[in-house]
C-alpha cells in the first residue's frame, strides 16, 4: 500500500490524531476504525477539491480498503479469544471427523474421546460447563485454515507437533496430550514380547506412510532384517495380517489399537511395547493471543497435574477442602492460579470434576475402560515411569 506512493494523510479521530503511516502500525478497535474512515474521507475532500473526481475516488477506495485491512491485522493481534468465547457462551473446537478413541461420535450424536476431552476441559475452565462446546469436525487439510480464519477457537484433532508446523503456520502447540508413534502388533501364538525378537520376520505395512521409513531405520539400527509386505489401505493391511501373510503389523500405536479390534479375534493379537517414531499429538491455538494460549496449555497441565496429585473427579471436592497446600492451590481454594489466567478460581476444579484428571480421561477413551485397551506406556505420568510432566503449579 505504501509502496504505491500514496501521500501520508493526517487522520483525526476522537481518540487519535496520527499520520496514516503511523496508523498502519498501531492497534485500534473496530469501532474507532469506522470513525477513522469517515473522517479520512472528509479531510481528503477538502484537500483535493480540484482534482479529477475519478482519481480521488480510486484513491479513496484504496485508502479505505487498506485501513480496513490494517484494522484487521491489528484485530488479529489483539483478538481476545477468551472474551469471544465468554460472550458466545460456547467454545468452538475443531475435532476429527472420526478417529476411534480420540474424537468420535456415538449413535446419539454425542462426541467423546481423548481429543474431545481436551475441548471439554477448556470449556470447563473458561465457561464452567464442559458441555458448552460446539464441535467442528474437520478434515486434515482444513484444520489449520479453520484455526487461522477464526472459525474455531482451538484445534484438538490428533495433530502432530512438528517444528515446521509450529514455526511456519502461525499456530502454537499448547502441549502434548498423547505421545503416539509407530509400533508393532503380533499374534499371541508367535510368542514374541519385544520388537527386538522380530529379526527376519515378515512385516505388513501400509505403503507410502512414514511408518515405512521408521521401521526401516529401526531394523537397520538394531542390526536386524525384515521382509516388507505392503498394502494400499489400512484395512487391507489388517486383512493381510489376519490371513497370516506376515508375522507382524506396524502402524501408529493408536491406529494399531483400532485395527486390532477389527480383527475377527482381537484377543489373539498383542501390541508390543516399543515405539519407534515420534508423533506427539496435542491441542493447537492461533499465534498472537498469549492469554488464550496459556489457558489451553494450563488446562492440559491441570489434568496431568491432577493425576500426579491423585486428585480425581470423585475426590476433588474433598481434596479442595482438606487436601495438602498443592491440592488446594490446584483446586482454587488458595492462591491466584485462576486469576493469573483471567479465569475464575475454580477453573481446574471444574475441569477435574467435569472431565476428570488425565488418567480418568485416558482410561475412559482409549485405555482399559474402552474397547481400545491401550496401555499407558510413555503416556504415563513421570511418577509412574512415563513422560507426562506438568510444569510446577504455583
Amino acid at each position: 500500500m505504501l509502496a504505491l506512493g500514496i501521500k501520508d494523510y493526517l487522520i483525526k479521530t476522537p481518540r487519535y490524531t496520527v499520520t496514516f503511516r503511523q496508523f498502519l502500525t498501531m492497534n485500534v478497535d473496530e469501532n474507532d476504525s469506522l470513525k477513522i474512515v469517515g473522517t479520512l474521507v472528509a479531510v481528503e475532500k477538502e484537500q483535493q477539491p480540484t482534482q479529477k473526481r475519478i482519481y480521488i475516488m480510486a484513491k479513496k477506495a484504496l485508502l479505505t480498503a487498506s485501513i480496513l485491512a490494517a484494522t484487521m491485522t491489528a484485530g488479529a493481534v489483539q483478538a481476545a479469544t477468551l472474551d469471544d468465547v465468554k460472550s458466545r457462551g460456547t467454545l468452538t473446537c475443531g475435532v476429527s471427523t472420526g478417529l476411534a478413541g480420540f474424537s468420535q461420535k456415538d449413535e446419539n450424536g454425542k462426541w467423546s474421546g481423548l481429543d474431545v476431552d481436551m475441548c471439554r476441559a477448556v470449556a470447563a475452565a473458561v465457561l464452567g460447563d464442559s458441555e458448552a462446546v460446539q464441535y467442528k469436525p474437520l478434515t486434515a487439510k482444513e484444520r489449520f485454515t479453520a484455526l487461522a480464519s477464526g472459525e474455531i477457537d482451538m484445534l484438538s484433532r490428533n495433530t502432530t507437533w512438528t517444528h515446521t508446523r509450529d514455526t511456519s503456520l502461525g499456530i502454537n502447540f499448547a502441549g502434548t496430550n498423547y505421545y503416539d508413534g509407530a509400533s508393532f502388533m503380533v499374534m499371541k501364538d508367535l510368542g514374541v514380547s519385544s520388537a527386538t525378537e522380530l529379526d527376519g520376520a515378515n512385516a505388513c505395512i501400509q505403503a507410502g506412510t512414514s511408518t515405512e521409513l521408521a521401521i526401516a531405520d529401526y531394523f537397520r539400527e538394531n542390526g536386524m532384517s525384515y521382509k516388507a509386505v505392503t498394502f494400499d489401505t489400512s484395512d487391507q493391511t489388517r486383512q493381510g495380517f489376519e490371513s497370516g501373510r506376515c508375522d507382524f503389523l506396524t502402524s501408529d500405536g493408536s491406529q494399531l489399537a483400532a485395527l486390532r479390534i477389527g480383527l475377527a479375534n482381537p484377543g489373539n493379537a498383542v501390541i508390543l511395547p516399543e515405539v519407534i517414531s515420534k508423533e506427539p499429538l496435542g491441542p493447537v491455538v492461533r499465534q498472537g493471543d498469549d492469554q488464550w494460549f496459556n489457558i489451553v496449555k494450563w488446562s492440559l497441565n491441570a489434568m496431568i497435574e491432577a493425576e500426579e496429585q491423585k486428585v480425581t473427579s470423585a475426590n476433588a471436592a474433598d481434596m479442595k477442602a482438606n487436601g495438602n497446600p498443592a491440592n488446594k492451590r490446584l483446586l482454587g481454594a488458595e492462591g491466584e492460579l485462576g486469576a493469573n489466567l483471567g479465569l475464575s478460581a475454580d477453573w481446574a476444579y471444574n475441569i477435574i470434576t467435569q472431565v476428570g484428571n488425565y488418567s480418568e480421561s485416558f482410561e475412559r477413551n482409549v485405555g482399559m475402560d474402552s474397547p481400545l485397551k491401550l496401555a499407558r506406556g510413555i503416556n504415563a505420568s513421570w511418577r509412574d515411569g512415563g513422560i507426562l510432566y506438568a510444569p510446577a503449579m504455583r
Binding site: 480496513l68 484487521m72 491485522t73 484485530g75 488479529a76 483478538a79 471427523t97 472420526g98 478417529l99 476411534a100 478413541g101 468420535q104 461420535k105 456415538d106 449413535e107 446419539n108 450424536g109 460446539q134 464441535y135 467442528k136 469436525p137 474437520l138 478434515t139 487439510k141 482444513e142 485454515t145 479453520a146 487461522a148 480464519s149 477464526g150 472459525e151 484395512d235 483400532a258 479390534i261 477389527g262 477413551n365 482409549v366 474402552s370 474397547p371 481400545l372
Partner: protein, 366 residues
C-alpha cells in the same frame, strides 16, 4: 383316378411363443450362449444362498450395541442403531419435526407443480419453488421463526444431501437461465462474461471447487468474519449447477425454431415478453429430461461433501465406522445401506421424470 396320397406329416414347427421359446431365443440360441447361461446359473446357485444367508438367515437384527451381533452374517443392528444419524445427522431429536416438515413441504411443492389446475399452476408453482429455500432455511435454522436455533454443524445425514441438492438447484435455476441468455446475447461484454463463467464452472472438477470453498475462501475473509461452511459450499454448488444448467438451457434455446423468435418479434413483443411468454415455455419443455438428469447428477455429487468434512450420509457412515464401540467391520452393511437409499431415491426420481416428460410432451408423441 389316382388315389389321394397324403404326404407324411411334418414335425411340429418350433414354438415361437411361450416360455420355452423365449428361453431358446434368449438364453440358449447357440452353444457359447448356452455355456454362458449355464455358468451364470451355476454361479448364482452357489452365491445367492451365501448372500441370502449373510443378509437374512444368519444376520443380526435385534439389539442396540455391537455385542448383539453374535451371529456370522450381516450386523443390521449397526444400521438400526445409527439410522437416526444416517437420516438426520446430529439434529436434536425433539426438533426433528422441522426436518420432516421441510421434507413434506418439498414433496408438496413438487406435487403441486403437476397437479394444480392449469390456470394457476405456473404462477403458484414458480412462487412456491422460489419461496421453498427461504422457508426451508427458516424452519431448519429457526432463528427467524423464534424457534430454538439449530446451528448448521448439527445438520447432517441423508436429509442434508437432499436439502443441499434441492436448495442448490432451485437457486441455480433462474441464474442458469440468465447465463444461457447471456451466452446467446449479442452484447460482447455480457456474452464473454457468461462464456467465461459457464466454461469455468463446467471445466473445473466439483471436488476442487469444494476445496476452494472450504479451505481457500476463508483465507480471503477478514479476521472474525466467518461465513458458515455450509453456506460456502452451498454457493459452490449453486455456481457449479448454474454453469451446467446454463448449457442445458442453451440447448433448449437452440431447439426452438427461429420462426418462433421472428413471429414474436413481428407481433411487436418486447425482448422479455418474447423470452418469457413465447420462448421459455418451449425451452423448459424441451430441456426437461436434461434438467432432471442434471439434478440426479448433482444429488449424487452431494456425497463429495464428505471430503471437506460435512456430515452428509457417507461422512456419517465413516464417522460411525470409526467409533471405538463399532469397530467390528461393518463397512459392507453401511455402504450397502447408502447404496440402497441412493438407488431408491434416484430410481423414484427417474420414474417421476418420465411421468413429467410424458405430461409435458404435448406435441411430439414418441
Amino acid at each position: 383316378m389316382k388315389e389321394f396320397q397324403p404326404i407324411a406329416a411334418r414335425p411340429a414347427p418350433i414354438k415361437t411363443v411361450g416360455f420355452t421359446a423365449w428361453l431358446r431365443d434368449n438364453l440358449f440360441s447357440s452353444i457359447p450362449n448356452s455355456v454362458v447361461t449355464l455358468s451364470v446359473i451355476a454361479l448364482l446357485a452357489y452365491y445367492l444362498p451365501l448372500i441370502f444367508d449373510w443378509a437374512f438367515w444368519s444376520a443380526n437384527f435385534t439389539g442396540t450395541t455391537e455385542d448383539a451381533c453374535v451371529k456370522e452374517g450381516a450386523c443390521w443392528v449397526f444400521i438400526n442403531a445409527w439410522s437416526y444419524q444416517f437420516f438426520y445427522g446430529t439434529y436434536p431429536v425433539e426438533e426433528v419435526w422441522r426436518i420432516n416438515l421441510t421434507l413434506v413441504l418439498l414433496v408438496m411443492v413438487i406435487a403441486a407443480s403437476f397437479t394444480l389446475p392449469k390456470s394457476i399452476r405456473l404462477k403458484a408453482s414458480i412462487t412456491s419453488w422460489l419461496l421453498l429455500p427461504i422457508v426451508g432455511i427458516a424452519i431448519l435454522d429457526g432463528r427467524w421463526l423464534g424457534l430454538e436455533v439449530v446451528s448448521t454443524d448439527l445438520w447432517g445425514g441423508f436429509t442434508l444431501n437432499v436439502f443441499m441438492a434441492a436448495a442448490s438447484i432451485i437457486v441455480a435455476f433462474p441464474f442458469s437461465f440468465l447465463w444461457a441468455l447471456g451466452r446467446r446475447s449479442e452484447m460482447p461484454f455480457i456474452r464473454s462474461v457468461s462464456v467465461i463463467f459457464i466454461e469455468f464452472f463446467r471445466g473445473v472438477p466439483v471436488l476442487s471447487l469444494f476445496f476452494m470453498g472450504s479451505v481457500m475462501l476463508p483465507l480471503f475473509f477478514a479476521e472474525g468474519t466467518n461465513v458458515d461452511k455450509l453456506i460456502r459450499v452451498w454457493l459452490v454448488l449453486i455456481f457449479f449447477m448454474s454453469g451446467y444448467m446454463a448449457e442445458v438451457f442453451r440447448g433448449g434455446f437452440q431447439a426452438v425454431p427461429s420462426g418462433q423468435y421472428e413471429a414474436a418479434d413481428s407481433i411487436g413483443l418486447s425482448y422479455w415478453q418474447k423470452i418469457l411468454l413465447i420462448i421459455l415455455p418451449q425451452v423448459i419443455k424441451v430441456s426437461m429430461p436434461n434438467i432432471l438428469a442434471t439434478f440426479v447428477m448433482l444429488f449424487k455429487n452431494t456425497t463429495f461433501l464428505l471430503i471437506i468434512g460435512i456430515p452428509e450420509v457417507v461422512q456419517t457412515l465413516q464417522t460411525a465406522l470409526s467409533n471405538s464401540y463399532w469397530l467390528g467391520g461393518h463397512a459392507l452393511e453401511g455402504y450397502l445401506f447408502v447404496f440402497l437409499v441412493f438407488w431408491g431415491s434416484c430410481f423414484s426420481m427417474s420414474v417421476l421424470a418420465r411421468r413429467i416428460e410424458r405430461q409435458m410432451n404435448t406435441d411430439k408423441r414418441d
